[in-house]
């Protein structure tokens, strides 16, 4: 075999794998679009603005699950972002090397824990704790602020948000740590050399220039939370309605599909679920893309 021929064959085979990946991604999008077509045809804007999810008369709207997904993911990132950034500063800038390596190892392991295990723990440990110990603290506030209106059943939007926070925390912490590593050492030294305290040096020389990177980490972590299925299904309460209280049960796009897809037999119902799947896919991809764009911009900084 001549070397140029073998070279060609080699390239073609490798190229075929590349084509396969492209086809795979496209077919995921195409299958969902085709499945959701009956809904898309009537316009998605109605679909995302309707709250009713009523299989009896075939009325389907995605507002409730959009709401559930967005609120639970927002809670998640609101908790995970400060924790992740705080942990990353501690690990990268303050802690002795030994402590830092143990802690980052533990956080890395948390990332490997499967979703269903977060769900199991959330359902049996976290949900009762929130119901019995956390929620009652807020009940007095609930009279004035609807988001704290009780009672808490244990499972609900808040519980889902907290479980999601734990799940995306490692992503957040790991990326932020990497961003800090990219900050040149002389920046810190310069600040310290001026006589600043450790914290001042971190704040001015590390934290401030890393802002866009932290933002992109937060967006990326949020993207993970949006599509998370199993743990959410187990703790969100599975109720298709918009409700202001964080203690109330809700439903996310992913948990709705997990709950109903295997049994939807009415064609309108199936199409509505496919449309929810498509919506989830599009939102996840867009959020991921936004994170990447921010990351690219901020990474260019030190070059």
């Amino acid at each position: 075999m001549s070397s140029s021929l073998s070279e060609k064959i080699f390239r073609t085979i490798l190229g075929a794998f590349g084509v396969f990946i492209v086809l795979l991604m496209f077919s995921v999008a195409i299958f969902l679009t085709v499945g959701a077509w009956p809904v898309i045809r009537h316009g998605l804007s109605d679909f995302v603005q309707t709250q009713t999810w009523n299989p009896v008369n075939g009325q389907f709207g995605a507002l409730a699950v959009l709401f559930g997904t967005l609120v639970s993911s927002s809670i998640a990132i609101a908790i995970a972002a400060p924790l992740g950034v705080g942990a990353a500063i501690f690990l990268k800038e303050l802690a002795p090397a030994r402590v830092a390596s143990v802690f980052s190892f533990l956080i890395e392991m948390l990332a490997a824990v499967p979703s269903v295990i977060f769900g199991l723990w959330g359902f049996f440990v976290l949900a009762p704790a929130i119901r019995d110990h956390v929620a009652p603290i807020f009940y007095p506030l609930g009279e004035y602020v609807p988001i704290f209106r009780g009672p808490s059943y244990g499972v609900g939007i808040l519980t889902a948000g907290v479980v999601l926070a734990l799940m995306i925390l490692p992503t957040m912490a790991a990326i932020v740590r990497e961003i800090f590593s990219a900050v040149p050492q002389h920046q810190r030294e310069a600040a310290l050399g001026l006589g600043s305290t450790r914290w001042e040096a971190v704040r001015v020389a590390v934290l401030a220039p890393s802002k866009p990177g932290i933002l992109s980490a937060a967006v990326l972590a949020t993207a993970r939370a949006l599509g998370e299925t199993m743990a959410v299904t187990m703790v969100i309460g599975n109720r298709n309605a918009v409700s202001l209280s964080l203690f109330d049960p809700g439903q996310s796009m992913a948990s709705l599909i997990a709950n109903e897809y295997a049994e939807a037999s009415d064609s309108r119902h199936i199409a509505a679920l496919m449309a929810v799947g498509l919506l989830l896919l599009v939102i996840s991809l867009v959020v991921n893309a936004v994170a990447r764009i921010i990351a690219k911009r901020s990474a260019a900084k030190w070059k």
């Binding site: 590349g18 990946i21 969902l32 499945g35 305290t197 001042e200």
Partner: protein, 294 residues
Amino acid sequence: MEIATKKLLLEFMVTTQAKRKRKNIFANLVLSILAILAVSPLVAILGFLISKGIGALSWEFLTSLPAPYGESGGGMGHSIVGTFILVLFASLLGIPVGFGAGIFLAESSKESRFASIVRLCAEMLAGVPSIVVGLFAYFVAVLPFGGFSAFAGGFALSVIMIPVIARTSEEILRLVPVHVREAGLALGLPRWQVVMRIVLRGSRKGLFTAVLLAVARASGETAPLLFTALNSRLWSFSATQPISSLPVQIYTYATSPSEEWHQQAWGGALLLVLLVLGMSLFARFLFSGKKYGT
């Protein structure tokens, strides 16, 4: 840096030394607490898994089928075997395609348009929510073949594995120093032989890590299996029959009302975590060098 310096100087002027020291101590304290909070979930989850799950682990649990309704005992033997079979099927498709794509990306020039499209698609694929992968697999691998099957479950998991392997292996292959390739080419070896013989062989540990990470990820997935592999109460070794898996069985038992099943769910969860964390640990250990040729 100028702005930062100005900021610092301003701060030195307006606040006293003691105040700044206090602030520093306070910040250190808060950050340490945040770090402790960040690791406590893992400790809490593992703690509960061990304390609640260890009692369920027994020979019977590991080797038998679930007991018929209302009878006590039984185990998750079939789910353990099922998870291995599903991951095996997933690897069969996922590893070659993942590696193929990874090699393709590593061997393409950075400027190549097509390669950047492939890279983008791999990245997008990694961002597809796992439940959506399940929906897709139902259409591609369940409906046309007339039934839930281990094959369909494996297919769904492979879609999860492919981008993980592709991206990790590209990264690893790009670590191979240019002079190593050049040396091979200088010997007169054709490019494909340089890749297959020198580049891949030298990176085998790293590539194995990529596989481990992908397998660890796939073996813990539940959502893509719900409407592909479904579940089963039988020992199943067939590609065309529904099959049980640890995550799905844990989910089923956890949401049931039976105390005994709860206990088994904790036991299964402990087992699954040991499996997945074990693989991740091993991967980490292998990859701790992160250099070519180690």
